[in-house]
Symmetry: none
DNA sequence: TATGAATGAGAGTTCATTCAT
DNA sequence: GATGAATGAACTCTCATTCAT
């Protein structure tokens, strides 16, 4: 195989992934057909089967890279010199935007039959990523609350914060508005949510100590 | 029509509803076929069409009664002589328990393509019910915050509270634990969540006024 | 069986026939369901099977009486003291109106796989009736042309006249207008058609003799 | 795509069209199922959907080409140097032969729920074709009657002529004889019909002027 | 590598008909 | 005699997937 061929082959695979990503996001996994993907990718639907075992495999291969990207971004925020509260807000908005951007995938990302959001020992790679994210969230929340929390408290608080975050995502994921529309319209509401959470958590932490 | 026939007819309908409920819960509406339901209900798939116009009608008939029941229960709480905070907590726990009990339907209940959770003018009866619930929530939150809120503030605060509630539900709905197990294990966490939310909302309301 | 029961039984059968007749006429045999018929007849769909072997049997039992009625009417006209031309016109209009009234049945009436419209030796009773009609038509046409025609000529002329008649019926049978609307609107056209045909036939008969 | 593939594809499509044509002709559109067609065509029923959007599309693709062919032939006749009467006869015979050749489709061609045979503003392409034919008929009839007719007269006369033509077609379409047999046996009758019509129309036109 | 052709399984739904009462 | 309950066969159409080139 010449390097030209390799190149072309890789391009085809990329275009399939791009097409699938867009379609899954906009219409949901079930509503998208292999032919839809092929049409948008500019190839035959049979070509998809050269690169991917089946439709599900396509979904799986599709879900990892964006998550990795998100984690990278989150790590960048972690080392920025910002107030903890601002870090948490920035990170939260980023997670929301990410999940709404990858709407159909957010389900895969957040929800793959994991009994508890804090569960270690994940079965799928995707759970690994989710847990990484949960850890980062824990870290920042600890920072925000000035590291006064015991482990079990911290876990609970992170869970509580996570509920709200997940609630936001789950509320707007089925919407048919674009991510931009949603974020433009709702960012103030989201930020208010974070404020409320942080205030509440602080109050409780103060009372507990 | 003899009473025996009536009885048999009612039993068939019930068994169809039971089968549909179970299957929708476990696999989701789309993934379940009419033939699946019939098989589990122990009848021919055509029999379903005697009792239900189509698949969607089955879903609707399935989802309305429990929701009506919930609303009744909530209304009972509303008129009890309790502290506003306790009413809100009781009501919240009840909604969570209800949604986890009717797992597959909670999606229908909360999520039927409604652009906004606060939207008026609903197209389906199910939306009506959801909006009723949202209104009750609004009322109690206003009470909790001593009626100091302007409308737009109140709306935002209710939404924020709703996010957390929905987040809890969405987090544990996919779990395979029984409702009882989940409630026993997590009620303290849920109550902590409500506390945190209320504290946070109060703080913000104080600052705003 | 008491006479009261017999009476009631006959009424049920009649109401089924009436309902079927109306529905077949308006919507066509295939588009009508047994339940449609039962609903209009005011009985259960299973009751139909007491009186009729199946749907087709219903159609057959349905098609004979109106045809008999038509033939009776035609015979009345035959013995009236009218000019032959007027008889022919009256009879023609009557046939058209009849066929449009019994739209779905006219097909059965005129068209049951009969190779030739003049064929003797019919397989079905319905063909018998049609042939009777054809004979009457032949008689009047002979009258109109002053009995000058030889048999083979007469046959051809009747056929030709029949084509026009049948063409009219076949043209307007699929229409969704009511019979009354059609007859009101088109009677002049129909009468002109008869005139044209008669003139033409006379001219040709004159030349031949 | 290799030429072998193209060839095979075309053959499949042809075999589907052939099968559909035969079945529609013999049993009528509604009574034929996609699986019937597939069985006769020697392919899977899903294959049909590769070449045709749905059942109706199949019917349409089936009916258009022959109609176009007929119109072409008619136009050829229009410009030949023949006596008007001979043109009309030739054209009429051609239409009859065409309709009998495409028996099942003649219904589609002539009868697609068109309120009036002279209606302008057609919804389907097939109606367009039929109207074209009606216009040509009108033109020649005007010629035959030496252009003496007013529009409304001409319209009525064309309709009358059309009735006869349609009556002939409708009479012999259900026959199981071959087209050749029918034409051989009946052409004299058909020609006599045209003569009668023309004589009659002329007589009436004379009297009216 | 890539693709058009082709398919089997299966979806929701309808309907004439039979069964049990 | 009459009916509600129930069903099997069949309908059109879709889709993920495989085959042959």
């Amino acid at each position: 195989m010449t390097s030209r061929q390799v190149l072309r082959s890789e391009e085809t695979k990329k275009s399939i992934l791009a097409a699938a990503s867009e379609l899954f996001s906009n219409r949901g996994y079930d509503a998208v057909t292999m032919r839809d993907i092929a049409r948008l990718a500019g190839c035959s639907h049979t070509t998809i089967y050269i690169y991917f075992k089946d439709k599900e495999d396509l979904l799986h291969q599709l879900s990892m890279p964006p998550v990795q990207y998100l984690i990278g971004k989150i790590e960048e925020i972690m080392i920025q010199s910002l107030l903890p509260d601002d870090k948490l807000k920035k990170m939260s908005l980023m997670i929301i935007e990410f999940c709404l951007t990858n709407r159909s995938l957010y389900g895969v990302f957040i929800n793959t039959k994991s009994e508890r959001v804090d569960e270690k020992n994940p079965k799928l790679e995707i759970n690994l990523a989710r847990n990484q994210l949960f850890e980062k969230l824990t870290l920042i929340i600890q920072e925000c609350l000035e590291n006064r929390l015991r482990d079990e408290q911290l876990l609970m608080y992170t869970r509580i914060y996570f509920f709200t975050l997940y609630g936001i995502i789950a509320t707007y994921a089925p919407s048919e508005e674009t991510v931009k529309q949603l974020m433009d319209r709702l960012t103030p509401t989201f930020e208010a949510s974070f404020d409320v959470m942080l205030s509440g958590l602080r109050k409780r932490a103060d009372e507990a100590s």
